[in-house]
């Protein structure tokens, strides 16, 4: 590590702590590095422009965002919640179960946890707190933790990013997330079932069985979207980016034709919201592209691999170390930054130790998603404090048991790779 790199790191960390947007902090720190090192400062422009221009894979991100926004515009959330209520509302703690099942289903359409929480959060909060059934803090906590499932079950924006940095197939990564996502959902529902007895949670009115076909039919166009997406991806008819575009087109058609609740203004609003999210994440990616050039020049991933190899780590201890590192970093750093900056440094060591890149990717993504609900810095926590009108302390107290459950699930999928790899292998993954 050189003096220039040290200064670059200090600049990025200091500017981020001072409140500069992280993307700009990474670009500015890297420009400082170029000057100190005596490299042409135009290199920042070169890296950013060529990096963005050649990363065709990343186009899946705006398209997945757009697909979820179009679906939301079609007021599917009401119908989806009715469908979930018909399925699990009858159990003790019914609405709490509905919250989790809704997140699992929505996860099949959206690749973003924050989008899930933002789109279902308000509705779920008002349903759950009506007549004092659940405390606002519990309702908000549940929406936060169940939204985490969104990017673990495909489609998944963080997995697209991981595919980019690791050169792994998006399709197999997506498949690898299915069982871990369901496992986390199941652990949450198990915890709800236990809590429901203890706190005497209410049961929802039973939906008569004869109404089930109608309710399912109403939610059907939304339920079909993951099927279409998977069909396109795994039949090899389209590339992953094209599948994302087709999913967005389907969502638009479904919203306009079937639900008939969408006008031109809604379409514009969806485009506008999606564009804003794309810009936010795009700036982080742009910053990471410039900074990763610095990291490569400094040969950091190789040095880290050499240091770790000197300790003669077993895959087991390395994975344990990586999990703890990512969980701790997740308490303080923004997840996309961890994925784009920290994970590439760990990856060469993981591969050298014979850890499967798809397995490692899913484990990293789950870690980063957990980071969204760990204090003090967790974007999902901040979002739910605002939506649920609760204090951060109350919210965190209710999140904690779920956090432990997720960490146990994470440990399981880390040390039993088959949980991740079984499904990809069924579909022909040779890892």
């Amino acid at each position: 590590m050189t003096l220039a790199f040290g200064l670059c790191l200090i600049a990025i960390v200091a500017l981020s702590l001072l409140g500069l947007p992280i993307g700009h902090a990474m670009i500015a720190g890297s420009i400082l590095y170029l000057f100190v090192k005596g490299i042409d400062p135009g290199t920042a422009a070169e890296q950013l422009l060529n990096g963005m221009y050649s990363s065709f894979l990343l186009l899946a991100i705006p398209l997945f965002i757009l697909a979820a926004e179009f679906m939301n515009a079609g007021a599917i959330m009401d119908r989806l919640l009715r469908f979930c209520n018909a399925l699990v509302g009858r159990f003790r703690g019914g609405l709490a179960h509905v919250n989790v099942v809704q997140s699992i289903i929505f996860a099949g359409m959206s690749g973003s946890a924050l989008a899930d929480a933002a789109s279902s959060g308000k509705l779920m909060q008002s349903l759950m707190t009506r007549d004092g059934r659940y405390t606002p803090a519990f309702a908000a906590a549940l929406t936060a933790v169940s939204s985490v499932i969104g990017p673990i079950i495909p489609p998944s924006i963080p997995m697209v990013l991981y595919a980019l940095i690791s050169d792994t197939s998006i399709g197999y990564l997506f498949l690898g997330g299915v069982i871990p996502g369901l496992l986390i959902g199941a652990s949450q529902m198990g915890l709800i079932a236990i809590t429901a007895r203890r706190r005497n949670f209410p049961v929802e009115a039973k939906i008569p069985l004869r109404e089930l076909p109608r309710i399912t039919w109403e939610a059907f166009p939304a339920l079909l979207m993951p099927v279409i997406l998977f069909g396109l991806l795994y039949s090899g008819i389209t590339t992953p980016t094209e599948a994302a575009a087709a999913a967005a087109a389907y969502a638009l058609l479904a919203s306009v034709l079937l639900y008939r609740s969408v006008g031109l203004r809604d379409i514009y609003n969806s485009l506008n919201t999606s564009a804003r999210i794309t810009i936010s994440i795009g700036m982080l990616i742009a910053g990471a592209m410039v900074f990763n050039y610095v990291v490569t020049v400094e040969n950091i991933p190789k040095s880290v691999a050499a240091i770790l190899q000197a300790y003669q780590l077993s895959p087991f201890t390395f994975l344990l170390f990586a999990n703890i590192l990512l969980l701790v970093l997740g308490c303080f750093l923004e997840g996309t930054t961890i994925l784009l900056v920290i994970v590439p440094v760990l990856l060469p060591t993981a591969i050298a130790l014979g850890i499967d890149p798809v397995h490692f990717g899913v484990v990293c993504v789950v870690n980063i998603m957990i980071g969204l609900v760990t204090p003090p810095y967790g974007l999902l926590l901040f979002l739910m404090v605002k939506i649920g009108q609760v204090s951060l302390t109350e919210l965190v107290r209710e999140v904690l048991p779920f956090l432990w459950a997720m960490i146990i699930a994470l440990a399981l999928m880390t040390f039993v790779p088959e949980i991740v790899l079984w499904l990809p292998r069924v579909f022909g993954y040779k890892g």
């Binding site: 409140g19 221009y53 398209l63 094209e242 564009a275 804003r276 936010s280 974007l379 404090v385």
Partner: protein, 169 residues
């Protein structure tokens, strides 16, 4: 002045939404042509990538507001206004200084790219990449403007609005 700024920002927003719409439409055209007419279209791929590059840099320069950008604002929003103003001044100076210092070299890189053209659309690369120079200049101007407000003692207030910010996670 204020209303002109707001009007311009809304137009910039229209442009960003249009870029995303073009990207989406190009993909649909590509899929339809390839799978229904067995006619691959290279230009659509190029167009989508150009829209992606422009959308991000254009949007960062002109569309996203202060409260929508992803930042670590735990300290920023917890400190007293006077301290916060000081912190924001340091950031503004760093951006103005570093982006400003890299501007000439960035400009010469972008103009140097005139020797290349996009393979299908035949647009000169210096035109395509010019958005980076626009981005740099716009960000420098924005932070100069912010700096002038900060120096007059205006509190930039708390950081991000959690319902508006999204890193796509």
């Amino acid at each position: 002045m204020q209303s002109l700024g707001a009007w311009l920002r809304r137009r910039a927003e229209n442009v960003a939404a249009a870029m995303l719409a073009v990207m989406f439409a190009a993909f649909i055209i590509q899929i339809v042509f390839r799978y229904f007419f067995n006619f691959p279209t290279g230009w659509t791929t190029e167009l989508t990538v150009i829209m992606w590059l422009w959308l991000v840099l254009w949007g960062s320069a002109f569309v996203l507001g202060e409260k929508e950008e992803i930042r670590f604002d735990l300290i920023y929003s917890a400190v007293r206004p006077r301290v916060r103003i000081g912190m924001a001044i340091v950031c503004a100076l760093a951006i103005i200084g570093l982006y400003g210092a890299s501007l000439p070299a960035s400009y010469s890189y972008v103009t140097f790219m005139k020797v290349e053209k996009a393979s299908y659309l035949k647009i000169r690369m210096d035109w395509l990449y010019s958005i980076y120079v626009i981005f740099l200049v716009a960000i420098i101007v924005r932070y100069l403007w912010l700096l002038s407000r900060l120096l007059r003692g205006e509190d930039p207030e708390a950081g991000t609005d959690p319902t508006k910010v999204s890193s796509g996670l």
